[in-house]
Assembly symmetry: C2
Homo-oligomer: 365 residues x 2
């Protein structure tokens, strides 16, 4: 097992390096050519982190223009401005639009494998996710999953740990979830349904009024900074911070492969590097903003920030893995992605338990 | 306090964005100019992470050449090939060399403030460090500290958590440190001396023979991947993983300011972005490699990976902060950096205790 793992790291590391440090292109006719691209977004105008602010789609486009000295100009269209919010994947796949900004798990209806490149319930945090993507075979699997769609996905941001969500009443036991009406999309919703939660799929703007008027009893969104902007603290006081559903959440920059092939090598390298810069910058911005926002919510706005009871966590874990077993059973590629992800996680957990976890539990004040 | 903190984040965030997304330069005469630069390195040829491999100095130089389509070519000289290992700062400061790769804490003899931009005993991990540098005022302070030297420092890598080190005998109590001869440089060494440790400053290549022959009883180096290459596991079996001395460790790309000013805006943006890519890539490579190496050391090489006893951690913490008080007392700029760092840490710890720590303690297998 250990030797296999070592080989695995070696092979994928070398593959990664080879791809990344390809010999610079010799200046060609192409190097003077300019490109005008369009990027759509799953998120609307003014959404911090996703459409505005450091590391966001608008930052990415400005930065690519700056690094290419204007040779690649990407016009950014927040959701709804050119096409509806969730039509970016098909538009990029067809090539009517060159790029889309969002999260790969929005495309889980096309293949459940897309889940693993955004957020994995009971999965890895930022460190583990990026180590897997870059040096554990994750990016190669992402390429394989997206090949039939003629697109490439790049990691271009990370919110860090997302919260379980806002609850009007305290959760003391698994039974307290039974009958709860909760806004919670995706895989976390599928798991919670098995505990009797009535899952409501509401767009961002409709969550606060629904929570305030009692149409729903609980809501999951992102983290302290984004959640505070929505005003959830005025409608629910119990904030469960246990990030079981999204221990990290990767932003996706989606690119049409034919359009990609027309770019000179130096511009391709710039696009990839700016995506990496946005990945780190987005995480750092989230960490700084969430730190400030959580302190404010707890100290000034009467919010109780709590972890879920262990009994609830254990039940969620059990049901999550039952759900994975069903969703991976009939698709060999999904199974392959799942197994690669969790094999890497097992190895990384052992290291992390002895490094980052010790820093947090024994060294922090 | 909370409102002040909020303003602090807002101001530094906006400053950061302003600096980062400056309007792209209009193509000028400069945009066709080519540059030939030299980069020295604090580490020798073949040092993984620092001089070779993903995110290292050699990767950085190749990547800059690729993104600039050959307009900026940086020739990389590992330690000793052009100048001795630790003369990079002065050479870059004088402008005889444009860049140096290493760690800012090597320059702590010039100003103790340099310590805070690499690794801080009882300080922050990767997430906190980068949030402080990018959005907590850290980079601005780094610029201020380096201004008199005519240089700029950029974060360009991170090893993640580094280990306490290798010990021939178990450490059960503070008394077990008394009289120990240990290779441990920097601030951690100053703290350990106060517990009776006899600190030995040995270059990397001399550590293994000294440990094997019993000239020293213990040695601190980096982490599992780099340490295993040195063979320490063949000379000492107790591996203390508690990263109190370096909860994260930032790689520095040092740049002469006059040389920097000659670069067109697009090339400056490329250099900064490649440094950010190396920062993330270095961390990911460390995480992947350390995971594999620690598993191998424990399962196949008879190493005992242990955390320090709580009583030892508490004594180290106490003495570390006594040491900080002495080192910051007589220099207002050092004090300002120290206070900025630990104020940000206090706020970030509260968030991290409720997010990443929960992921590690309650969600990981």
């Amino acid at each position: 097992m250990t030797n296999e793992r070592r080989d695995f790291i070696k092979k994928t590391s070398l593959a990664g390096i080879g791809a990344a440090i390809a010999v610079p292109s010799i200046a060609s006719a192409d190097s003077k050519k300019t490109f005008r691209w369009k990027m759509t977004n799953c998120y609307g105008a003014g959404a911090p982190f996703y459409s505005t602010g450091p590391g966001s789609a608008s930052y990415f486009c400005k930065r690519v223009e700056e690094l290419t000295d204007g040779r690649l100009r990407i016009k950014h269209y927040p959701a709804g401005e050119l096409i509806p919010a969730m039509e970016g994947f098909d538009a990029v796949s067809k090539g009517t639009i060159e790029m889309n900004w969002g999260n790969s798990f929005f495309w889980a209806g096309k293949t459940f494998a897309a889940q693993y490149f955004t957020a994995v319930p009971f999965g890895m945090n930022f460190q583990g996710t990026n180590a897997w993507l870059q040096f554990g075979g994750g990016q190669e699997l992402w390429d394989e999953v997206y090949k039939p769609f003629n697109v490439i996905g790049l990691a271009a941001g990370n919110t860090g740990v997302q919260m379980t969500g806002w609850f009007k009443k305290e959760i003391k036991d698994v039974k307290d979830l039974d009958g709860l009406r909760m806004r919670v999309p995706g895989l976390a919703g599928k798991v919670l349904e098995q505990l009797g939660v009535s899952v409501k799929l509401l767009p961002g703007g409709e969550i606060f009024p629904a929570l305030e008027r009692g149409v729903i009893d609980a809501a999951e969104f992102v983290g302290p900074f984004q959640d505070r902007r929505m005003g959830f603290q005025k409608a629910a006081k119990f904030y469960y911070t246990t990030g079981w559903g999204e221990p990290s959440n990767t932003t996706e920059c989606l690119i049409n492969k034919d359009a990609w092939a027309t770019l000179p090598k130096d511009i391709q390298a710039i696009v990839k590097t700016v995506a990496a810069e946005c990945n780190l910058m987005g995480l750092s911005w989230s960490e700084a903003n969430n730190s400030e926002a959580l302190e404010d919510l707890v100290k000034n706005q009467g919010v109780e920030a709590k972890t879920l009871p262990d009994s609830v966590i254990e039940k969620l874990r059990e049901l999550t893995f039952v759900t994975y077993a069903k969703l991976t059973a009939n698709d060999p590629l999904v199974k392959k992605v799942h197994e690669s992800y969790f094999a890497f996680k097992a190895m990384h957990d052992d290291w992390q338990n002895k490094s980052e976890e010790v820093v947090m539990t024994k060294l922090s004040s």
